[in-house]
């Protein structure tokens, strides 16, 4: 079985391992560090990270567009943004190194990842949008727009 050559570099070639076994332990160390960071942040919740970086823009079309594109910085606490990003980082290394996605062909990679990412992004958008809409109706006395 010669088809089991692994790509042994992670972090875009910054760290190169000598063997697949060594890479597995290296990735474990990295994932453990990321989880530890999450847990420490989750326990201490630094006050700096508890308020959003930007406040929503008021005004016309431009402001609305800015609110959409900058939504992670306007409507999310930096702490939660960090948690979500670290989760995606962990997911990447589990898929790429433990599940050996790094060694699969580009076509298989794209078939699996793009399909899931596109559909999940759509699902999250549509459900969170709707949830937020219902909340805004509850909190504004069952009136969404007072014309």
């Amino acid at each position: 079985m010669g088809a089991h050559e692994h790509k042994l570099a992670i972090f875009r070639g910054l760290i190169k391992f000598k063997s697949n076994t060594q890479k597995i332990w290296g990735v474990l160390v990295f994932l453990t560090i990321v989880t530890a960071v999450e847990v420490v942040l989750g326990i201490y919740k630094p006050a700096v990270l508890m308020t959003a970086l930007l406040s929503p823009f008021d005004g016309g079309f431009g402001a609305t567009t800015a609110n959409v594109f900058l939504s992670p910085f306007i409507f999310l606490k930096p702490l939660n943004l960090i948690f979500i990003l670290l989760t995606l980082v962990k997911a990447y290394y589990i898929t790429w190194d433990f599940m050996h996605m790094r060694d699969e062909t580009q076509a298989l990679r794209r078939m699996v990842v793009w399909t899931a990412v596109f559909l999940v992004a759509y699902l999250i958008f549509i459900l969170l949008q709707e949830g937020g809409y219902i909340e805004s109706i509850y909190s504004s006395g069952y009136i969404k727009r007072g014309f």
Binding site: A3, T35, A36, M50, I94
Partner: protein
């Protein structure tokens, strides 16, 4: 009958068949596609959780106050510690799994056996921890009162600011209330088990203990639960109290919105079921390895395919951990 065999002129070329452009076996590719569809199922659950949470964003329970227990450690609030341990166990069992796959590539039967064994142990520790987590959540710790409108009222010591359990202040009243069983009633209906205290006992306790105030589910601007004044507390419980709630189930939840409990049971339950089935499949593969099935087949690809499933279970947990315990 050569006349029935059409010649397409593509023999030996890309579309002539027999080529594997993805360079993956059928089984492995199908495992990947199963994982994609399973990932979409889990995303559906987590997005639905997000929907309900956004809908009740102003009163959603704070996870750090719910999951504070560690086995064998009593009387201390340690949020996240145990669930971090569970996460580590699952990642570790993922590592032993990928080491088993690696050993399989080198056809080292003994190593595959041992690494698979460790993976199974890790999976069992995780499922056991999950069961313990459920049991603790179902049992509850402080107890609360549910209002007629379905809101949850919790109790706080006004002097220290600490949470109060019902048993800390409720005054027992002698009564003859017996659990109604199906065999006694004309309509063969029964009622659920009684809570340790009933509403009257809680109200009586509040009246005699002047330090007891109510904490509602509404989150203030600092993201903390709102505390009521002593008068408002008494009024809320007397006028709107409907029943005492201890612990959580699919109908009531002493920590806040019942939806929180519903999603917790459903999502961690579905994930736990995946872990359980993963352990069962791992055990089957483990015995196949011992019996030498893959040695005779001259490849350990089955370990790799099952490994993909096992890593996927770990992958899902990473997301459940974030969205249930962290965010």
């Amino acid at each position: 009958m050569s006349s029935t065999l059409a010649s397409t002129g593509t023999e030996g070329k890309t579309w002539g068949g027999g080529s594997a452009p993805l360079k993956a076996s059928y089984g492995k590719m199908m495992m990947w596609f199963f994982i994609v569809s399973d990932a979409l199922t889990f995303s559906g659950f987590l997005a639905a959780y997000g929907f309900s949470r956004f809908k009740y964003i102003g009163s959603w329970p704070i996870a750090d106050e719910v999951f504070t227990h560690v086995p064998f450690v009593h009387g201390q609030e340690l949020p996240m510690i145990y669930v971090a341990f569970m996460t580590f166990v699952l990642i570790m069992s993922s590592v032993t799994m990928v080491l088993a796959v690696d050993a399989g590539h080198h056809m080292k039967k003994t190593k595959v056996t041992w690494y698979l064994f460790l993976t199974i142990i890790g999976g069992l520790i995780f499922v056991g921890s999950q069961a313990w987590e459920w049991a603790t959540f179902i049992k509850g710790d402080y107890g609360a009162v549910q209002t007629k409108g379905g809101q949850i009222l919790q109790f706080v010591d006004a002097e220290t600011g600490h949470r109060l359990a019902l048993k800390d202040f409720a005054t027992p009243i002698e009564s003859e209330r017996v659990q109604h069983l199906a065999k006694n009633g004309i309509w063969f209906e029964s009622e659920g088990s009684h809570t340790t205290f009933n509403l009257q006992e809680v109200i009586a306790g509040m009246e005699t203990h002047s330090n007891v105030i109510v904490r509602t589910q509404t989150l203030n601007a600092q993201g903390e639960k709102t505390l009521l004044s002593r008068d408002a507390s008494l009024q809320q419980v007397r006028n709107y109290g409907r029943q005492v709630v201890e612990g959580a189930n699919l109908k009531v939840n002493e920590y806040g919105s019942p939806l929180f409990a519903d999603f917790f049971f459903f999502i961690t339950g579905f994930h736990g079921f995946h872990v359980f089935s993963g352990v069962v499949i791992n055990i089957i593969i483990f015995f196949n390895v011992i019996l030498g099935t893959y040695e005779r087949r001259k490849n350990y690809e089955m370990v790799e395919k099952v490994g993909l499933y096992w890593h996927f279970v770990d992958l899902v947990w990473v997301f459940v951990f974030t969205f249930f315990y962290l965010v």
